[in-house]
Symmetry: C2
Subunit: 429 residues, 2 copies
């Protein structure tokens, strides 16, 4: 890894997502050597990935180069690498670019798509947890429309214009809404030869309500918004399989569709090397105490999606979202500094600031602890919060400009197939 | 292809670059059926590709969706396809999505990189004619810097930080300048552990001057600017080979470098099916008369880079640049309309509006027919012209915003490895 030995303790952070970034910020400019490892050289603002997938934003404006954030920080080292294994006994980790020892280790690897062991679904559906994956979805949507133009087989054309989104959480809802807006304003203009009535957007939720983590009012209103936008919302329907052609369910309805997006679950992005008792196998999360310390390992911490801190309010761990991740990262940084200074550490208490989801133009739902509201104002609040949560002035300015443009023009202009997804042979041409 | 038969004559245009787009615009809203075929679903503004390669602009802001440009035009059909072959005898073409007949055919396939038959060079160097290729260069630059951090072998590190750009035309000069600015302002901050003095940018030109097509003053001044920016300019040096490790030349100097960008030549992007007498084999260009008609084929035209119209001023055809392409496209559209109306067609006369190249911040060279100037004012002229040549309000606004930001902050913020180039196994992760 070629990182110099220092007289300061070394803190290694795996992952530059919301949690890892918050921890790294809290540890900068201290008597510490900080090593941040990520498999990408940028931080991804995941809440806006769906807009990249649907042509509303450029990928570069929701990603931020990690080196840039820390390039004026001494004793800070970023390394682009995949972590292979942790060796807690040796206080070291193995990575794709060599081994490194740590004094304190922070695991902030985040989460990955959970296919619940169904390899067919894993093979044939699209996921949307990273920028490249979102770009793949964008390419596939447009490639399927191009293909729909060419076939004279009606069933095939319908399948190419049929979209199935599995999972009615925020990701599925926001993506379904954005697709519905593409159907409304953009695709009929771009593809006047296609009968846009043959385009269907199906959102499938296994339980009886979408946006399960939010209030009943938000859930109902979101469903209402989706239906108004022309999305078919299927509740109490469970997807059993997808062979690349037909989505089979436990109900009467099966779906012939060429584009299936799997947003039905996430699990921790597990790293190897921890003992079985530290890990909740099923959720792929790491058990931590109220200080985010991993069971039996006083100098290993897990924060964010990968961490499972059972509490009275959240017996199965906190929701796998940005807020708990940021809050845990911030507190952990303080606690590590306190620990090294032999001061008292504080237990984590989640401050639930609320949650929100956007369905489309002027349509969002917001649950604040003391106030729940939906509609136009909620939509502006959603935009405001997301804009100011982005890192970097340039990103904010460009996202703002795109949003204003898209709002005024009813448009999504970045509908480019930069890297074809289907035709892999031409990926570099 | 699924394009309906119409009572109007059908004009098929192959290629949505500067030439094809200009022709398509000139033919819209006439008593014609127009079919535009391109292998991308967007028009690429090639003059700014080097800024995508060096992290100054997002790819989406220099590309424009072709469907959007024509989505309110009747009798206009865009098809995403590769053209396989032309069958002049049958007035038809074969494509990756089927065959199509034409009444009039416009070949506007543009140009591709010319490796002059050297397969080693083709295999190991990078080219920069398309958006994906530019993104590959961006990824490679950053990946090599990441790798340079890891090696303790000095020779290897130097090779990873050594950049060779072959070809001193506008592309090579602009790219060398942009890299030099990355060396100055960005890379030392992002990679404080590397000795930036080990980064070298070599621009190799086989003849005695760079920017050969421009005035002697522009050429000298551009060289001067490059040298001030720290670029090693090698003139009268010819690259013979590159095995992926070492660039060998006909001089004393060979270059061990991991990043070699080939900007030493272009040739036409030839399509199969034309008779030998229509084609200039060596340059891969199609011989046309002063009406851009292909020899012996009164209803086939070639325009832009692919066309070679020998004239007194340009005995080997016009320069392979945007201006002749746009002018030929415009005139051809008029001529085709005139031909169908049995009116007089006009011969093409190239109106050379001048040429320009930017080397870096406040440093550009501009040759106008009656006025040649260099420096700060030239740089502003360059920016103004390029900004207003972009298609679409959104693209212009976003490029402008990026330029202002980059200028004020001395920054290039889109230095993201979205799709790794070297580590192909992780291309979709």
């Amino acid at each position: 890894m070629n990182i110099p030995q220092s007289s300061f303790p070394r803190v290694v952070i795996i992952g530059g997502g919301f949690a890892g970034l918050a921890a790294a910020k809290g540890l900068e400019k201290q008597e510490l050597q900080v090593v941040l490892i990520d498999k990408h050289n940028y931080h991804t603002f995941q809440p806006l990935l769906y807009q990249v997938a649907t042509g509303g934003l450029e990928p570069d404006s929701i990603a931020f180069p990690l080196r840039k954030r820390f390039n004026d920080v001494e004793n800070f080292y970023f390394r682009l690498a995949n972590v292979i294994k942790i060796n807690p006994d040796k206080n070291g980790i193995e990575t794709s670019i060599g081994n490194i020892d740590y004094d304190e280790l922070i695991i902030a690897t985040g989460s990955t798509t959970n296919f619940f062991g169904n390899t067919n679904i894993q093979k044939h559906t699209m996921e949307m947890k990273s920028v490249p994956q979102s770009l793949n979805i964008r390419s596939l949507i447009l490639e399927n429309f191009e293909e729909a133009l060419l076939t004279s087989n009606l069933e095939e054309r319908k399948a190419l214009m049929n979209f199935v989104i599995v999972g009615g959480g925020p990701t599925g809802v926001e993506l379904a809404g954005a697709l519905a807006e593409m159907k409304k304003g953009i695709l009929p203009k771009d593809y006047p030869d296609l009968d846009i009535r043959q385009m269907h957007i199906n959102l499938i939720q296994s339980s009886g309500e979408i946006l399960k983590g939010m209030s009943a009012k938000a859930s109902e209103k979101a469903e209402d918004f989706l239906i108004k936008l022309g999305v078919n919302v299927w509740k109490n329907l469970r997807v059993l399989d997808y062979d690349g052609k037909v989505v089979t369910t436990n109900g009467e309805d099966n779906f012939r569709a060429e584009t299936v997006i799997w947003a039905a679950g996430v699990k921790g992005e597990m790293v190897d090397g921890l003992q079985a008792e530290c890990v909740i196998e099923r959720a792929a999360r790491i058990k931590v105490n109220e200080f985010n310390q991993v069971v039996n390992h006083p100098n290993i911490y897990a924060i964010g999606d990968i961490a499972c801190m059972a509490s009275k309010e959240n017996p199965y761990g906190h929701p796998m979202m940005a807020q708990p991740a940021i809050q845990q990262g911030k507190l952990l940084a303080k606690n590590i500094l306190a620990k090294l200074a032999n001061k008292k550490q504080n237990a984590f208490i989640y401050n639930d600031k609320g949650s929100m989801a956007t369905i489309g133009r002027n349509k969002a739902v917001v649950d604040l602890p003391k106030w729940k509201f939906q509609g136009v104002f909620a939509w502006f609040v959603w935009m405001f919060v997301h804009l100011f949560s982005l890192i970097g002035f340039r990103n904010r300015a460009i996202v703002f400009l795109n949003w204003v443009y898209n709002y005024i023009r009813f448009d999504r202009e970045t509908r480019l197939i930069i890297r074809p997804f289907k035709k892999k042979h031409s990926a570099n041409s």
